[in-house]
């Protein structure tokens, strides 16, 4: 029990002390965590470079592999290379000319005149690491990738900017002032905090239609711009700011707007950063709603454009995985550059 408590204990020991077994347990736990958290994503990236048939293999190989092909004199096309076990027990690398039923007709690339007949369960493909980069190039060639990308960027940046602006204004209003209807407004924010958009999809679609916004990027941007979560988060944060600052500014004849943007906004930066990050991630990944309101290619976002690989009857997995990696890449980049900012930002807002 004491040991367990030590394992879970707060940091009290200074640096330079000898390693206790609980430290080792901690590192083991963390190492396991690295594998568990990063492993699946890496697996996705590796898989996205596999050919359509390699994706279906069992057991799956870690690296993307492809069968080696050799050109044999006297044969018009390159032939797949196998490691075949011959009747006398010797193992030889042979190229397959054709397969009829259970028997493969094979040839030794070194002696093109000599052919062998090998049962198909007596041969194994010879393989080497090969990246199926066509998983990436094919879809990017077929689709207006740059347009999708710029639409996604536009939606993400503009929506986040609007969200930050109007949410922080509302939060400021609710956190700093006393006025009639404040309780009602606060309740309205909190009461809708938990309504997922999925369950009001149809009514929101109706509203957007009536506003004439269908097939415009604004139909994606505007409905989610005023997030209750954002207002709530910022308000909670602003409540902790010292009131004297605001009073002092009023003495200095600053207008209310100036107090808001010159004093309160800079102090709210950590919370704003958290909201910005979540807004960016959410907007970048949004799928169901854009799918409902965007029907024209020129306004597709990345997520919609790349989902076209899911047909009625089959999903083109090799493309789907590759395109998933493509949409993932910017997220990973943002993360690599901003991870410390992100993690401390969330910590310091404390979500009180």
């Amino acid at each position: 029990m004491a040991a367990l408590a030590r394992l879970l204990g707060a940091r009290r020991d200074g640096p330079g002390r000898p390693l206790h077994w609980t430290d080792i347990a901690s590192y083991a736990y963390l190492a396991f965590g690295v594998v568990l958290m990063f492993g699946p994503v890496l697996w996705l990236v590796f898989s996205s470079f596999k050919t359509q048939s390699a994706l279906l293999e069992f057991p799956p190989s870690l690296m993307p592999m492809a069968q080696v092909e050799v050109t044999v004199a006297g044969q018009p096309n390159p032939l797949p290379l196998f490691r075949a076990t011959l009747p006398d027990g010797s193992v030889k690398e042979l190229a397959q000319i054709r397969r009829v039923g259970l028997v493969a007709q094979m040839v030794d690339p070194a002696e093109p005149d000599k052919t062998y007949r090998v049962a198909i369960d007596k041969r194994e493909p010879v393989r080497k690491v090969a990246l199926a980069t066509e998983n990436y190039t094919e879809p990017l060639r077929q689709f207006a990738f740059l347009r999708f990308l710029s639409n996604s960027l536009f939606v993400t940046v503009v929506a986040t900017a609007i969200t930050l602006l109007i949410n922080s204004m509302a939060a400021y209003g609710l956190a700093v002032y006393e006025f009639r209807g404040k309780t009602a407004a606060t309740l309205a924010v909190i009461g809708t905090l938990m309504i997922p958009i999925t369950i009001v999809l149809v009514p929101v679609y109706l509203v957007v239609t009536e506003l004439g916004l269908v097939n415009s990027l604004w139909a994606v941007i505007l409905p989610g711009a005023a997030t209750p979560t954002g207002v709530f988060l910022l308000r909670q944060y602003m409540l902790t700011l010292p009131r004297d600052l605001i009073e002092a500014a009023r003495m200095d004849k600053a207008s209310e707007w100036q107090i808001y943007w010159r004093i309160v906004m800079p102090l709210t930066l950590p919370a704003l950063a958290v909201l910005a990050i979540f807004s960016i991630m959410w907007r970048w990944n949004e799928f169901l709603w854009p799918l409902a309101v965007l029907t024209k290619t020129e306004v597709y976002t990345l997520q919609i454009g790349l989902a076209a690989f899911q047909g009625e009857l089959q999903t083109q997995w090799h493309y789907l995985l590759a395109m998933t990696v493509v949409t993932l890449a910017p997220v990973a980049l943002v993360f690599v550059f901003l991870q410390r900012f992100i993690t401390t930002g969330i910590g310091s807002t404390g979500m009180k």
Partner: protein, 430 residues
């Protein structure tokens, strides 16, 4: 306060204007939108054909909007209902969307050509009672049918059942093969109500009463359901398809078939192209005629249609485009490059060449074209029925529950009837 909003509006409009400018500048006078989904290369082929059409018709621009199938099924109906739909779309639920369809007849060059070549399929796109309108044509006719991994049969040393073999014959044969070669899926049947009815009709299911109203549960239906249920119990079918997802979700076994884990896969003609492409030389696969039962050997017809919608502002241009795409030469090229079974009677009668197809694919398409000629009237009636998807969905959702062990078959029958009645009643509330 007004100035604040007006400022915001100006700001917003400014941004909107920038995006509008960035959009493609189209010089043409008419722009048509065609919503399209793809299972294989058909999107590419259609893009080619549209390019050619636009070269010949400088005044009409056509934009192909490629979407995931989910959007066709779930969002397109809402868009059409709100008047925001495209001019033309490739759809599968033709009966369900019939009430939004455009009758192109007054604008077509030669309506008789359409009637002669698309006649039986036009009824699929019409509302009940309508016998005149011409809303579109079939981009693809499909027939259900089984694919067999011949190499597995050879490895197991089991003979292939003959052309008029019954479902039971096949079930026994594939189980023997699978046991010998250790294939995890002796028999796989797409998790789809449509595919289930291929089995049900051949077991004698009638689906409709004398008045033409749905009466889904009858002896033939029960025989088919019992077969599927027993096959799961006996390990002939794996629960991974029918038992692993809920509701109306589709699950196929095409990936498993390509990986030589399925001995017999009941799916349909649309799989041919991708099997030819991905299986390659790994094993021999063939399409075989539909197995038989008490109700015959019929398969289920189906397919996707390209339908024009009446909300369009340019019916003449739509008809012009459709006339072009449906012309024998263009449509023939489309079918032959996509390896689709033709939904054009003239082309089907003449026979169609698939120069891009491998020998296996060509042989399979021949089998499917032959079984298309032997489709039972009941099967056509189901496919042409406007509420067919209600029936398919109820069947697959409830049988799925029974196979997963959540309910009994009898309970499933009761719920299928109740679901169908309730949903049709809901649809008829005006």
């Amino acid at each position: 306060m007004r100035s604040v909003t007006s400022l915001i509006t100006t700001f917003a409009l400014g941004l909107a204007a920038t995006t509008a400018l960035a959009g493609p500048v189209l010089a043409q006078s008419v722009t048509l939108r065609m919503t399209w989904y793809s299972d294989g290369n058909e999107g590419e082929v259609m893009t080619d054909l549209l390019k050619r059409f636009q070269a010949e018709n400088k005044d009409i621009a056509v934009v192909l909007d490629q979407v995931p199938f989910k959007a066709i099924n779930e969002n397109l109906p809402v868009q059409l209902a709100s008047g925001q739909g495209p001019d033309i779309a490739r759809v599968t639920d033709m009966g369900g969307l019939a009430r939004y369809a455009l009758d192109m007849r007054p604008h077509l060059k030669d309506p008789a050509y359409w009637e002669a070549n698309f006649g039986p399929f036009l009824t699929w796109m019409r509302t009940a009672g309508d016998t005149k309108s011409i809303p579109g044509f079939m981009t693809q006719l499909t027939v259900t049918g089984p694919f067999v991994n011949k190499t597995l049969f050879e490895q197991a040393g089991v003979a292939l059942p003959g052309p008029k073999a019954t479902w039971d014959d096949w079930a026994k044969a594939v189980k023997t093969v699978a046991d010998k070669v250790q294939a995890p899926y002796p028999l796989a049947l797409d998790r789809s109500g449509h595919r289930f009815f291929a089995l049900a009709v051949s077991q004698g299911a009638k689906v409709f009463d004398e008045k033409g109203e749905p009466a889904v549960i009858d002896d033939g239906f029960k025989r088919a359901a019992q077969l599927v249920y027993d096959w799961h119990k006996a390990g002939i079918m794996s629960k991974e398809l029918w038992g692993s997802v809920s509701g109306t979700a589709y699950r196929g076994a095409n990936d498993e078939f390509k990986n030589a884990q399925v001995v017999m896969y009941l799916s349909g003609s649309w799989q041919t192209a991708q099997f030819a492409k991905t299986v390659g030389n790994a094993f021999d696969w063939i399409a075989v005629p539909n197995p038989c039962g008490a109700g015959g050997c019929s398969s289920m017809p189906g397919g996707a249609g390209l339908m024009a919608f009446k909300a369009t502002k340019h019916p003449e241009a739509v008809a012009k485009l459709m006339d072009y795409l449906a012309s024998e030469k263009v449509l023939g090229e489309f079918y032959s490059r996509t390896l689709f079974v033709p939904g054009h009677l003239g082309i089907a009668k003449k026979g169609i060449e698939y120069p891009g197809a491998s020998p296996e694919a060509a042989a399979a398409l021949k089998v499917f074209t032959a079984s298309a000629a032997e489709v039972a009237p009941t099967a056509y009636q189901i496919q042409g029925y406007g509420n067919s998807r209600i029936i398919f969905n109820a069947v697959i959702s409830r049988l799925g529950q029974a196979i997963a062990g959540e309910t009994s078959l009898d309970e499933a029958y009761k719920r299928i009837t109740a679901d169908v009645t309730q949903q049709i009643a809901e649809r008829n509330k005006q």
